[in-house]
């Protein structure tokens, strides 16, 4: 177990494709950090830089107190689970799990013990004599994880380990992988493009875009308080709503103006919000839908209603803006009918329209 530190890490491909751009990130000992972002954001490249599978163009990588920047993968004391699992097809499952241990020249008895232990943890002890071709996708994924944890590496790296599983299996494997990593307590860096995976698994989430780290925070903070419009739109399903807005002092209480209406904002000091082009960010579940008009509500018309069981997802139009709203499951407003929205002022996240970054308030 060890802490992992990226210092000003840069990685270019060819002359001008910058895959990782000046990334600083510290992963605490025993922490589970998820790198998440759209495809091509550099998250896998950053992971491969840590593994030693890519050479850096700048910066340093530390594991514990060792500068591993110029060490080959084998000397870094890491273990990696690949997206394709990379289970060696010419070796039996048992020999796959033992591979790293044999390379470390462990005693035969120790190898046997650790293989059995890793296999048991992943419930594949009955498959040790099979070849990869005789396994299902889910089993192969378990073999890859068992092989990685058997070496007891300082850091466990996982590159989209669940993305090749079908939806139902993925849900199951997600919970189990989280349990396993918590049990092992090993420092883990996990790459995924799936924001739900990121939210559900990580101690902290590191959101990447265009080779840069945009936000590193706990899942709830990233969800509730995105650092910019990109993070708000990328994390969460449905994405956070962003609509153009202005805030005016009003007489007494400040007023928020949207293209479809206005409502009071009960704060004392609108300081940084005054006279500024703003984007109002609000999650679908923080908008209340009512069938009757009342004070401080905004009128909207229903575009689409999608019943999702636990709630109904409404797409509504107010002025020029389209919003996704989570309505109660018993509310079925017909298409084109009017509804009235209450935007919870407490849950609004204000973004600057130009910089697209959050405004501290």
């Amino acid at each position: 177990m060890a802490e992992v530190r990226f210092e000003h890490v840069r990685k270019k491909f060819g002359r001008d494709v910058v895959a990782v751009d000046d990334v600083d990130l510290t992963v605490e000992e025993g922490e589970f950090v998820v790198l998440v972002g759209p495809s091509g954001c550099g998250k896998t490249t950053l992971l491969r830089c840590l593994a030693g599978l890519e050479q850096l163009n700048g910066g340093r990588v530390w594991i514990g107190d060792r500068d591993v920047t110029s060490l080959p993968p084998r000397s870094r004391r890491i273990a990696m689970v690949f997206q394709s699992y990379a289970v060696f097809p010419h070796l039996k499952v048992g020999d796959n799990i033992a591979f790293g241990l044999r390379m470390q020249k462990e005693q035969d008895a120790e190898i046997k013990r650790r293989v059995a232990q890793a296999a048991e943890m992943l419930h594949i002890d009955h498959l040790l004599d099979r070849y990869s071709a005789q396994l299902s996708g889910g089993q192969r994924q378990r073999v890859a994880v068992a092989r990685a944890i058997a070496t007891k590496a300082d850091v466990l790296l996982m590159d989209e380990p669940l993305s090749n599983l079908d939806a139902l299996l993925r849900l199951e494997a997600r919970a189990e992988l989280k349990r396993l990593v918590q049990e092992l307590g090993v420092t883990t860096i996990y790459v995924t493009h799936d924001q739900i995976e990121a939210l559900s698994m990580g101690d902290r989430i590191a959101v990447m875009d265009g080779g840069r780290l945009v936000q590193v925070d706990s899942p709830l903070t990233v969800y509730d308080d995105p650092a910019d419009i990109f993070v708000g739109s990328f994390i969460g399903n449905p994405p956070m709503n962003f609509v153009e807005a202005t805030v005016e002092p009003g007489d007494g209480t400040p007023v928020v103006r949207l293209s479809g209406g206005s409502f009071p904002l009960p704060i004392d000091d609108i300081g940084p919000l005054a006279e500024r082009e703003l984007m109002l960010g609000i999650r679908a579940e923080n908008i209340e839908v009512r069938k009757e008009p009342a004070e401080a509500l905004i009128r909207a018309s229903v575009v689409v209603l999608e019943p999702l069981g636990s709630h109904n997802l409404l797409t509504v139009k107010t002025g020029n803006d389209v919003l996704k709203v989570a309505a109660r499951a018993d509310l079925f407003p017909p298409r084109d009918s009017d509804v009235w929205l209450r935007i919870d002022p407490e849950r609004i996240r204000w973004m600057d329209r130009q910089s697209r970054e959050a405004i501290a308030s």
Binding site: R74, A86, G100, T151
Partner: protein, 272 residues
């Protein structure tokens, strides 16, 4: 109705074409084989019996003819030396082409193929002169060098497609598990590539075994079997020609049959 019948017609034509092409190749092979395994007298006989009387007389006559056995032996030696050289040089090149993106790798690939577009006839005189100057004319080693040059494009392309079929992540996984590049290759890539590499090697062997033109130019007294048969063709009796044809044909056919799966992959078909 008409669409259905025209589709049916197309299928029939396709099959007829395939059958015609197969016969075009198979009928001569059949006659050569049949003649090679009949008595010398039967070779001249007409009409041929549908099921010939099997006899090794013709083959024995061919193998007993002067110069045939030594040239047979020489052919085998040249083919094996070619195999060794071509695999030793071609496999690393194939690996590099499959694994590394380097400037001009596409051009390099094209250049490899284009060596085969250059007619060897034009090269023959300067080649013979050069070989005489180096004193490797009329020798098995010299000829093996030439055959290596001819076989290398195939060796490089086939081995590169073999390596390209082995996921790079397997190698990387091996490296995270304690291997360096070399041990990762030895412990993971090589075992997986071995069948394909063997196929490439055997194909190289066949290229040398079948090659007649360079062999005829570069050797005189120490001819390989194809060159020997070709040289003797005009003044040899019919049974000799048939038996010679069969001896040259059989190994090539068997080998192509065994490794056909890998040859398809060379042309972009999935082999596994």
């Amino acid at each position: 109705m008409s669409g259905e019948s025209s589709a049916r017609m197309r299928t029939i034509l396709l099959h007829a074409g395939a059958v015609a092409m197969a016969l075009w190749i198979l009928v001569p092979i059949y006659f050569i084989t049949a003649a090679a395994f009949s008595t010398q007298e039967a070779v001249f006989g007409y009409p041929k019996p549908l099921v010939p009387q099997i006899s090794t007389g013709t083959l024995e006559f061919f193998l007993g003819a002067s110069g045939v056995l030594p040239s047979f032996r020489r052919s085998v030696v040249v083919a094996f030396v070619t195999l060794g050289l071509a695999v030793a040089i071609g496999t690393p090149a194939g690996y590099a082409l499959a694994r590394f993106r380097f400037r001009g790798s596409d051009t390099f690939r094209l250049l490899i193929v284009s060596t085969r577009a250059f007619p060897i006839v034009i090269l023959s005189i300067p080649l013979a002169v050069t070989f005489i100057r180096f004193g490797i004319d009329d020798s098995s080693f010299g000829l093996a060098l030439m055959h290596t040059a001819l076989a290398l494009p195939f060796t490089v392309l086939v081995t590169s497609s073999v390596f390209a079929g082995i996921s790079e992540e397997l190698e990387e996984a091996a490296m995270t598990l304690g291997c360096n590049r070399l041990t990762a290759f030895r412990k993971v890539v090589l075992p997986l590539a071995l069948p394909g590499l063997a196929a490439a090697a055997i194909f190289t062997w066949i290229i040398s075994w079948n090659e007649v033109f360079a062999a005829s130019i570069l050797t005189l007294r120490n001819r390989t079997l194809p060159a020997q048969v070709l040289a003797a063709l005009t003044q040899s009796p019919l049974p000799f020609q048939f038996a010679g044809g069969f001896v040259l044909l059989a190994p090539a056919l068997v080998v192509i049959f065994v490794i056909r799966k890998y040859l398809f992959s060379l042309w972009g078909r999935v082999s596994r």
